[in-house]
Amino acid sequence: MSRVLLELDHVSVSYGSVPAVRDLSLEVAPGEVVGLVGSNGAGKSTTLAAIMGVHRLAAGDIMFEGISIAKEQPDAIARRGVALVPEGRHIYPDFTVEDNLRLGLLGRSTREGADRDLEWVRRLFPAIADSSTRMAGLLSGGQQQQLAIARALVSDPRVLLLDEPSLGLAPSVVDTLFDALAEIRDKGVAILLVEQRAQLTVAFADRTHVLRNGDLVLTLGPEDVVDTERMTQAYFG
């Protein structure tokens, strides 16, 4: 098996003639957390969408476990072991919590271990377990985010792509969320984390890349969280 789980090799993505990501290269190894920060429009969400096959590449390649997935469809990429928690959660509000979780099972390559994973996410997010028959749209914002992550986790991913999971959540809920992310990482799931909260991300991730207008301009480690100058760059992209 390749030491690198997910590799972006000189990736460029455009919206029509407008470049959104330019010549981006990064790697995520098994069990690693890699952060992506930058201001709005820096290309963070586009990068995750490109990995998931939602946006086609203008140039470059994306490899998962050493195999190119750049031309694959999103559902095939999901079954390979890549799970995306999109910005805005995109849970199904008119479906029950249980049905939302069942949809997550579709991304599994095998049904084996599904019950174990369901049990794990219910323990990780007790609020989800207590609301299985409720309509997902009736959950609080924090609970909806937990459901979106739980739904991704039951697909048994090797790498979890998280797009601004803390957006719109109260600070105490964000702390709970990051505790859960730490447990997910400790289980060996690699995480590519897109966030606006640069300080939190830099402290949490093994390394954090700063994007500005589609270009990777800086890479920070957890030790940089006390470096005011570098953190300022991280905040403003």
Partner: protein
């Protein structure tokens, strides 16, 4: 006409149009495509029965199902390049296909059409007191109940149904989660073809002359029902189809015999009023929690 007789006849037409409405809504749910050529699937089924005259009934029924479902799948292939097209482009394309097929039927079978000769004895009535109920009316109601129940189970209780509902509600997210988009769309066309074939069998008994616009005249009121019920939401759309069928029979009975030529005018006036009051549909509710398919 007695009240019970009216109720039975109205329910029968309502059930039939509910099935057509569901067939339209299934495809709209996963592709956002209003398929105006859906009526032609019914016409294809009718002409299949015409061409299999003299065959055993079971084989004719089987042929109708096979040909209509295959035609529905062929439509999916034709519309496939339009998946990312605008709603207007898709609408015009389905119009074009509808008129192309109607003119092909006109060319092949002529404007007078052909007699279907399919299970005509089912038009005989049984009499209970002053009630006079045709066997095909009973069959239409029973078939409607069974098929609507089956679809409700399929969509509500099975994994494939969950995938179809998810694809209808948020197609991109469904794909990200692992839903095979092509497979779900194909299944929607198979199911809608299955419903069209079932409707054909009932219509073939009730209206035994297959003409080039045989299915189109059924499609129009069903489509109005879909819009009145709530476009893009399966249960409301199906209820809308039922409501239009039911209202047509009831209004036909209420209007004085000399005024029945105005039946459609009155019906569509009511439709306009309904849409002005409830533009999202009559059965969608105000909370927006009705499931889309």
């Amino acid at each position: 006409m007695s009240f019970v007789q009216l109720l039975i006849d109205a329910t029968a037409l309502g059930a039939l149009l509910a099935l057509v409405a569901m067939g339209i809504a299934l495809v709209f749910g996963v592709m956002r495509l209003v398929n105006f050529a859906y009526g032609e699937l019914i016409t294809i089924g009718a002409f299949t029965l015409v061409l299999t005259k003299g065959w055993p009934i079971v084989l004719r029924v089987l042929a109708a199902f096979v040909v209509v479902i295959a035609s529905s799948l062929l439509m999916e292939v034709i519309f496939r390049p339009l998946r990312r097209a605008t709603a207007a482009t898709m609408l015009v394309a389905t119009f074009a296909l509808s008129f192309l097929l109607q003119n092909m039927f006109l060319f092949i079978f002529g404007p007078q059409g052909e007699t279907i000769e399919f299970l005509a004895p089912l038009n005989r009535a049984i009499e209970i007191g002053d009630l006079r109920i045709r066997w095909i009316t009973i069959i239409a109601i029973a078939l409607g109940a069974v098929l609507l129940g089956f679809m409700s189970w399929l969509l509500g209780k099975t994994s494939v149904g969950l995938q179809m509902r998810a694809a209808a509600a948020d197609f991109t997210t469904a794909r990200i989660l692992g839903v095979r988009a092509g497979r779900v769309i194909m299944l929607a066309f198979v199911l809608s073809g299955f419903l069209a074939a079932a409707v054909t069998l009932v219509l073939a008994v009730q209206r035994p002359l297959a003409t080039p616009n045989y299915g189109f005249v059924v499609l129009v009121p069903a489509l109005v029902g879909v819009v009145v019920g709530g476009l893009g939401k399966l249960v409301p759309a199906t209820l809308g189809g039922f409501a239009i069928g039911f209202a047509t029979v009831v209004l036909g009975d209420l209007l004085p015999s000399g005024s029945r030529v105005f039946l459609n005018s009155v019906l569509f006036a009511i439709v306009i009023i309904v849409l002005l009051v409830r533009p999202d549909g009559l059965f969608t509710g105000r909370t927006g929690v009705a499931e889309r398919v």
